[in-house]
Symmetry: C2
Subunit: 108 residues, 2 copies
């Protein structure tokens, strides 16, 4: 496996992108074990920074992410997951967590 | 503007996605000023954690990112930029920084 660079907390950001719609669904965090579990099970598994526990996406909501592809970026510190998303990725019920536009109406 | 949550270093991850191909191109970091400059200029501007300076993407390479849309995620701690990418997004010359597949051949 290529070299992985985790941050001071032992984590790296993981972006989930929908395999079909190509929407960017969410960003969450993985440590080495979450990445290992994701690769081994094919289910996106993150580290919850607030709950301090592993979090299999969809475990409570049923909104699983079946992992199609796992890619590392050029400097080894970010993961991109291509996933088949069941239901909404966002806990708000939105399909994606990115639904608040900042440059609409000249927010700058 | 909605509430923004930066990390302990005053930064938040910013994902750049190609407006046309929908490829996830890269992840970099923004502080409040980099975000303000991005919104004001329409050119993706990041904070370089290694060089400790603002970094207008493409300033030296010519590989600019013209910003089409800026979105914030549901908990206000990640930015998604939709961009028109000139040339390669990655310093390696690859179109995207994500070109190393981890789950190819059972890396787990």
């Amino acid at each position: 496996m290529p070299e992985l660079t985790f941050n001071a907390d032992g984590l790296m950001p993981a972006i989930a992108q929908d395999a079909d719609t190509r929407e960017v669904l969410m960003l969450a965090w993985m440590d080495a074990e979450a990445l290992r579990r994701t690769l081994a099970t094919g289910r996106a598994t993150y580290w919850s920074r607030s709950r301090h526990e592993y979090w299999v996406k969809g475990e409570t909501s049923g909104h699983h992410q079946s992992v199609v592809k796992v890619e590392l970026d050029c400097d080894g510190d970010t993961i991109l997951l291509t996933v088949n998303q069941t239901g909404a990725a966002c806990h708000t019920g939105n399909r994606t967590c990115f639904f608040t536009e900042l440059n609409d109406g000249g927010a700058a």
